[in-house]
């Protein structure tokens, strides 16, 4: 890692979400997915958002990335309102969104090429990242030829080459087998610990949240709001073996689980909403398509 000097300086950003609501659907089926939601993604910290699946986390990500505007409220990055997708806030998607028709190398270079910024520096930085994510032998392979873990690493590199102020990760390790997943946790934690970029990581997995986070935001079910904020004061660098035998980590996990459990019970006791939930799921799918 001698050529670290080629890496451009990282300027971490801070995102403030204030009173944000988001509704979908026409008048009659109008459904508020996010309601009056406020939180801060603190500068140079790894914030992990956990919540039950289908609680509107992906909606929040689309708002943060600027793919959709909020119905109410404001989202700002370092004070400037977010109006459109930008390289400042890059999303690493669920499953993989690597372009299947490009090799690993072309995928990584996508951003600089798209902006017409391909230079000797960006090529060197790309080379550096390629080695960093351990894919130097898979440089000319297509995503379909890579394993799940390799695809996620390639995608991390594709985002990092743009040197975003904030990295947004939407359940990036979902669908990986348990072993690969834990390796990716350590790997990703090390990446973060090295550069301390602002990271916003969304997951449904409590273990993942506790292992990675500086702060955990526990979300309520739809309409989405922040139910609790937990500061994770575990030492870094973190190792899987240490964390799972750490009492403090287990306490944090229990704390988060009890909040999530209460949240689940609360939405359960609100009566049978099976039909409404079905409509929600349907609308969400429709709005996504």
């Amino acid at each position: 890692m001698a050529e670290v000097k080629v890496a451009p300086k990282i300027i971490p950003g801070e995102i403030a979400v204030q009173g944000v609501s988001k509704s979908y659907g026409a008048i009659h089926f109008r459904k508020e997915v996010v309601h009056n939601c406020s939180f801060t993604i603190e500068r140079a910290k790894l914030t992990v958002m956990v919540g039950p699946s289908g609680c509107g986390k992906s909606t929040l990500i689309r708002l943060l990335a600027g793919f959709e505007p909020p119905t109410e409220g404001t989202i700002t990055l370092d004070g400037a309102p977010i109006t459109e997708p930008n390289r400042d806030r890059l999303v690493v998607f669920q499953e993989t969104a690597l372009f299947p028709w490009m090799t690993t190398w072309d995928n990584i270079l996508y951003g600089p090429r798209a902006r017409g910024e391909l230079s000797r520096e960006s090529l060197e930085f790309g080379e550096f990242l390629l080695h960093k994510v351990g894919l130097q032998d898979f440089r000319d392979k297509y995503p379909g030829q890579l394993s799940g873990g390799m695809q996620r690493r390639a995608e991390l590199a594709r985002a990092m080459i743009n040197n975003p102020k904030v990295m947004i990760l939407d359940e990036p390790f979902r669908g990986l087998d348990a072993m690969t997943k834990e390796l990716m946790w350590e790997y990703y934690a090390r990446l973060y610990e090295e550069n301390r970029r602002t990271n916003f990581f969304v997951t449904t997995d409590i273990d993942e949240a506790v292992f990675l986070a500086d702060r955990i935001l526990v979300m309520s079910n739809i309409p989405t709001q922040v139910r609790a904020t937990i500061e994770v004061d575990l030492p870094r660098p973190r190792k899987i073996i240490d964390i799972f035998e750490n009492d403090r980590a287990n306490d944090i996990k229990k704390q988060a689980l009890s909040i999530l459990h209460a949240e689940a019970m609360r939405s359960f006791s609100r009566g049978s909403k099976a039909a409404a939930d079905f409509v929600d799921a349907y609308l969400k799918r429709a709005s996504r398509a």
Binding site: L90, F99, R288
Partner: protein
């Protein structure tokens, strides 16, 4: 290649063709073995079914493969036969390439622009169900030469399929690819060039392969109907006309020669397309 020749798949395929030819030969020769009296017991029954009393549709009415082979060898030396190949190939390729040149941009435009879709799609959808062969009289009137008329009809055969596939392919590109490209700073043109175009390529290949099949169906029928180009009536009017001419001339072996020739020509053009498609979409190979 050696491996292929010794594989069970190859031998199954070869056996299948040999058995087919043998059965065909036996069937064709059965005419000589079975006297008309053979059918006597069924005469009343066949009559009731509407057949002429001494005639039964039987594979014996078809020329035997041995006879076809003889006729084929005889025809191989005639320039007219090769001229037919050339004419049909020329028309298919002309119509097909034109369909790609017009159809791919048109399909992409319908997919990308809401305005183009609103304006272009209704007309397209009304014209699409009209079978290409229904265009034969109109296009003979419209186009100055019969050659152009046939190429136009061939063009129609591939055009609709290509457009529909391109449109569907471009529309089914995962929205996350657009979001990712947009976030990383792609302009609209860049997204078109590096996301939409390669993302649609597999559908273009599929649409073209299906379109190629239709072109051969259409060209043969068009040649039969139109008389294969008036200038060269008699010889060199394409494989469709070759078949028709053999039928009129009572050379039944030659009909089958023409049919098999079309089969081979269609197979060759599909293989060519598949080969091109594999090279255009190398990322699909590895799956």
């Amino acid at each position: 290649m050696k491996k292929f020749l010794s594989s069970p798949a190859f031998w199954r395929g070869a056996a299948s063709i040999v058995v087919f030819l043998v059965l065909w030969e036996i069937g064709a020769r059965s005419k000589q073995w079975m006297s008309p009296e053979f059918f006597m017991p069924f005469k009343e029954l066949l009559g009731a079914m509407g057949f002429k009393k001494d005639y039964l549709p039987w594979i014996g009415a078809v020329p035997a493969p041995s006879g076809v082979l003889k006729a084929w060898i005889a025809v191989l030396g005639q320039p007219g036969y090769w001229q037919s190949w050339y004419m049909s190939m020329f028309r298919v390729m002309g119509g097909f390439v034109a369909a790609m040149i017009v159809g791919i941009p048109f399909g992409l435009m319908l997919a990308v622009s809401r305005v183009a879709h609103g304006v272009g799609f209704p007309v397209f959808e009304v014209l699409r169900p009209i079978p290409p062969l229904a265009w034969v009289p109109a296009s003979i009137i419209f186009w100055p030469t019969q050659e152009l008329a046939i190429i136009f009809i061939t063009f129609l055969g591939a055009f609709y399929t290509i457009v529909i596939n391109v449109l569907g392919g471009a529309r089914s590109i995962d929205v996350r690819y657009f979001q990712a490209a947009q976030s990383m700073g792609s302009s609209r043109w860049d997204i078109f060039r590096r996301v939409i175009l390669p993302g649609t390529l597999p559908s273009i290949v599929v649409g073209s392969a299906v379109g190629m099949g239709i072109t051969w169906e259409v060209v043969v029928a068009a040649e039969m109907i139109s008389g294969g180009g008036s200038q060269q009536a008699g010889v060199g009017g394409g494989l469709g006309f070759f078949i028709w001419n053999s039928y009129v001339g009572g050379s039944y072996e030659q009909i089958v020669v023409g049919m098999i020739s079309i089969g081979i020509a269609g197979f060759l053009s599909s293989e060519l397309l598949r080969w091109g498609g594999r090279h255009a979409t190398p990322w699909l190979k590895s799956r």
